[in-house]
Structure formats: C-alpha cells, structure tokens
C-alpha cells in the first residue's frame, strides 16, 4: 500500500492554487565556446544551430511536465556563454547581428528570454569588450527576448570604474532607444558585482566559462506560500519560530523544483545543474515579497525593521533550500524588484520605500537594486554613481549585487512606468540631485578590498 496522506495533498494543491507556487523558470545553460569564428556570419550560424539542436524540445517537454504535475512553469529560458567572448575572434565585430541571431533562435524554440549578451569586465576591457559594450543599447532595442548583463566588479578584482562610467551612459541610451516602451531596453540590462555563472534568472543569466557543455538550471519561487505560512503563525510567535516556518516552506518549494528539474533534464538527456531557490515576486496579488514583511509585522516595506526582516528571510530561505537539494546554486534568496512586486509598488507609490532604503536592503538580499524606475532626466553620471555604491556593497560583503535601473524617458517623479508582463509597472522614484560627476570621472579601478588577499 502506497503512502497516501490527504493533508499533504490538500496542502500541495493549496500552495499551487491559492498561493502561486510555481516553477519560475527552467533555464538551459549552454556553452557557445565552440561557436567562435573569424567570420561573424559563420559564428552566428554556429550559434543558431547549436542552440536549436539543444533546446528544440525544451518548451514541449516543460509543457508536458506542467501538465503531469499540475504546477505552472512560468518561463522557459536559455543562458548562453557571454557573447563578448564568443564574438571576439570575429574579424568584423558585428555583435548586434549576433544578438539578433539569439533573438531569432529564441523565437524559433519558443523560449521567453535568452541571456548571455554579456561581458565580464571587472578588471578592465579588451578591445572586443569595448566594442561590445557600445552595441548593447541597439542590440536591446532591436531584439525582444535577448537579455544583457555586464559584470563590473568582484571581491577579488575590485571595481572597474571606467566600466561603471560607461554603463551609466549605456543604460541611458538603452532607455532612450526604447522611449516608446518606457525605456524597456534598460529593463533587460543588468550590472553585476560578483555575477553568478549558473544563475537561471533574468536579466542576469549567462553560461559562465567555467560551466559544463550544457545543464538544466531551475528557478523556483513562491513568496505567496511563505507569506501564507507566516500568517498562520500567531502574532506572538517569536522570530526563531518565524525563521523555522520559512525554512520548512522553502524546503517544500525546493523539493518540488528539484523534482521537475531532474525530470526535465532526464527527458532532454542533459545533466541537471542547480536549483536556485529565490523568492521572486510577480505583480499578481498574493505573490509579493513585500507582503512577507507585512506578515512578519511591519506596516509596509520601507518601515524601519525592513532590512532585518529581509536578512532573516533571505537566510532562512537558503537554509531550507540547502536541506532539500544537493545542488543549490544561482542566487538563492529573496529578490526585491520594485516593479514586479505588488506591495513594493504600493510602498514606492506612498513614499514609504525609497532608493536609499532599497540600497540598505540590497546588502542583505540575494541580488540588488532591481527594476527601479527613475526620472528620465537623471544624468548618466548619477546612474554611474548609483551603480558604484551597489558594486561597493557587493565587493566588500563578498556577495552578488546588481543594478537594473530604468531612467524612463520623458517621465518624472510621480509618473508611472509600465513595462508589462512579469516586469510589471513602477512609479518613478526620486534620486538625489547632488552632483557626483568629479568622483565618477576619476575613473580607474577601485582596488580589491584587503580581505581579497586571503591566500
């Protein structure tokens, strides 16, 4: 007689149906290192054919599993080797053509996003990197599904401040070229410190040079499930109990993700990579990380105590996830994207949540300043300064931090930017008007911190 527990069955169905438990993404990580060629058209053909042959069944098999387990798989994605590396040996550096090739194949195999239009320039740029960075705005404006990321700093190398300076301008241009869509181009572009090579989440997913030929990485989510579990606790439950219930819930979410991941990897006949347990919100009601803070006892995200609540949440999620899978990787923790989280949006609208508070929160969350809309007339150097602050937090604390910020063309504080779909909408948030130009123009490289010398 098989085990048959009605309580478990009801709980599982409730998690999926009422609390939005889902597999956020199944991401095929694929090395394109063997696609380099002196002729950019040949290089593009190799890229197209390789991605097609590995991922032609990704979407179909994912749909099958969604049906068999009745758990939604929200996105199918591909993470490729940074194109700055693959395209560097082309004699004519036509990175935009390569981006359009990625977009074409992504559409052909019916995936939602393809990541890897990326560069790793934490210590400085090669000739190819420099040409590549210039191409990012146009590449994002002329493609739909391509996502771009640039690693500007690590705890070992320090911060490439010339890169930070450049990225301020690139983000502005990416937004301006997509002005009719509220600067959507900048929403598909992220700057990293300590970027993660097996991250399945966008816009930062890419297949690191140290990754195997291919692997299937899974991103699971479920802020609604965690929130519901905390709400079930009495208001007098101490924070140890709260942390414990988060761990238990994270465990359940992770095992589900691992089951789907292993099954899908088996069907695709490729190795299972990692599971990334990140509480990633969506704009839907009841799928919010900020609502978890409220369940913990804060009036709204942004209240004093938010950073502490987030730190505990982030840590408990990791601990629960680690118990559930041998291969937890990626970013794993809690995301705080403003435009993608219903309650974050409310907190930003009411003025309770500011960029300064968000910056503090990024020192304890799994990533960084994410999906924040700022006035379109913010200067490139101010954006660079925001990036520099965030890179410093990551570098000193040996964690991943990121900036995905959108200077929305022709909009000012109080207006609403609408990106649509999972990217949601966001009120334009104020930035400081103080001038940081001289500091940013100094350029150069911020030396790696003393604790990088740990050999």
């Amino acid at each position: 007689m098989a085990i048959f527990n009605t309580k478990n069955i009801i709980e599982t169905i409730e998690m999926i149906k009422t609390h939005h438990l889902d597999i956020r993404t199944v991401t095929l990580s694929l090395s394109l290192r063997d696609c380099a060629d002196p002729d950019y058209k040949v290089c593009a053909d190799k890229i197209y054919n390789k991605i097609l042959s590995y991922s032609k069944n990704l979407s179909k098999f994912a749909d099958e599993l969604e049906d068999e387990f009745s758990i939604p798989i929200v996105n199918k994605r591909i993470a490729a080797t940074p194109i700055s590396l693959v395209g560097e040996s082309c004699s004519e550096k036509n990175y935009i053509y390569l981006a359009q090739t990625l977009d074409r194949v992504a559409q052909e195999v019916n995936v939602d996003f393809i990541g890897g239009f990326s560069a790793l320039v934490e210590k400085g740029c090669t000739v190819g990197d420099r040409a590549f960075l210039e191409c990012i705005p146009e590449a994002l404006a002329t493609t739909k599904r391509v996502c771009s990321s640039v690693n500007l700093a690590t705890s070992k190398a320090g911060i490439n401040m010339l890169g930070v300076l450049k990225m301020g301008e690139i983000i502005k241009e990416a937004a301006n070229l997509t002005a009719d869509a509220d600067g959507l181009g900048a929403a598909k572009l992220v700057c990293f410190c300590n970027s993660v090579t097996d991250n399945p989440f966008m816009a930062g997913a890419y297949c690191g040079v140290n990754e195997p030929e291919c692997a299937l990485n899974i991103g699971v989510s479920g802020p609604g499930v965690v929130c519901a579990a905390i709400k079930d606790l009495p208001k007098t439950a101490d924070l140890g109990e709260v942390a414990n219930i988060i761990k238990k819930t994270a465990f359940k979410i992770t095992t589900t993700g691992e089951l789907i991941g292993r099954e899908l990897a088996k069907r695709l006949d490729i190795p299972f990579g990692v599971i990334d347990l990140s509480l990633a919100p969506t704009p839907e009601v009841g799928d919010s990380v900020a609502e978890i803070f409220q369940a913990m006892g804060l009036e709204q995200a942004g209240a004093h105590g938010t950073t502490c609540a987030l730190a505990m949440l982030n840590d408990a999620v990791k601990k629960g996830g680690v118990m559930a899978s041998s291969y937890v990787g990626g970013l794993s923790g809690a995301f705080i994207p403003v435009s993608e989280d219903n309650q974050m949006i409310q907190a930003a609208k009411s003025g309770a949540l500011t960029i300064d508070k968000l910056e503090a929160m990024t020192s304890v969350c799994s990533v960084g300043l994410d999906m924040i809309a700022i006035p379109g007339d913010t200067s490139a150097k101010t954006i660079s300064a925001i990036i520099a602050d965030e890179m410093a937090i990551g570098m000193i604390n040996k964690k991943t931090t990121a900036v995905r910020i959108i200077p929305v063309p022709n909009k000012k504080v109080g207006d609403l930017a609408v990106f649509g779909g999972l990217l949601g909408e966001c009120p334009i948030m104020p930035v400081h008007n103080l001038n940081s130009d001289v500091f940013i123009e100094r350029s150069g490289r911020v030396p790696a911190p003393i604790h990088s010398l740990n050999n």
Binding site: A2, N8, E11, D67, E68, T255, T256
Partner: protein
C-alpha cells in the same frame, strides 16, 4: 517508464451531488486504471474526494486519462486535479 511513475493522485472537489463517485470510477474503469485507495468526505455540503490510482496497465497515456477525467469532472461541475504522485512524496518527506 518505471512503475512508480505510473501512480497518480486524483483530487475532486465541488458541491455534493448524486453520482460523482459512480461517474469518476466508471471513467477510470474504462481507462483500465486501478484504484488503490479512496478517501472521501463531505464538509457543509462541499464534497472532496482523493484517489490513488495505478495507470501502468492502461493503454491510454497520462495525458489522455487526464483529459477524459477533466471532461467527466466538468460535466459534473466539479474541480479536478490529476497529478503524478511523486510531487506529494517529494514535497513532504525529508
């Protein structure tokens, strides 16, 4: 597919009425699915039934069986969930 992969859990909920069990079990018999366990209760007129079935002897695929069951449930105006059993095993055991 190995044997374990052929176990499914069916959950049916909705307003209680005559003939729910009869219809669903008939559909399963037609599909040559073997019912290994049934739990059923009624709470304030709300019917809930869970079944553990083995579909390894069925000539129909999981997808076909799910479609036939979904049709039967919608004719009864009931909500139905048909899922492979592993999801419950994994989620709730260390």
């Amino acid at each position: 597919m190995e044997k374990e992969a052929q176990k499914i859990i069916i959950t049916i909920t909705g307003a209680d009425k005559i003939g729910i069990v009869a219809k669903i079990t008939q559909v399963l018999a037609d599909c040559e699915a073997n019912i290994e366990d049934i739990r059923q209760s009624i709470m304030q007129g709300h019917f809930i039934m869970m079944m553990l079935c083995d579909i390894s002897k069925s000539k129909k695929s999981f997808k076909e069986i799910k479609e036939i069951l979904s049709e039967a449930a919608s004719s009864l105006e009931m909500e139905i969930w048909v899922q492979r059993k592993e999801i419950f095993d994994k989620m709730h055991t260390i």
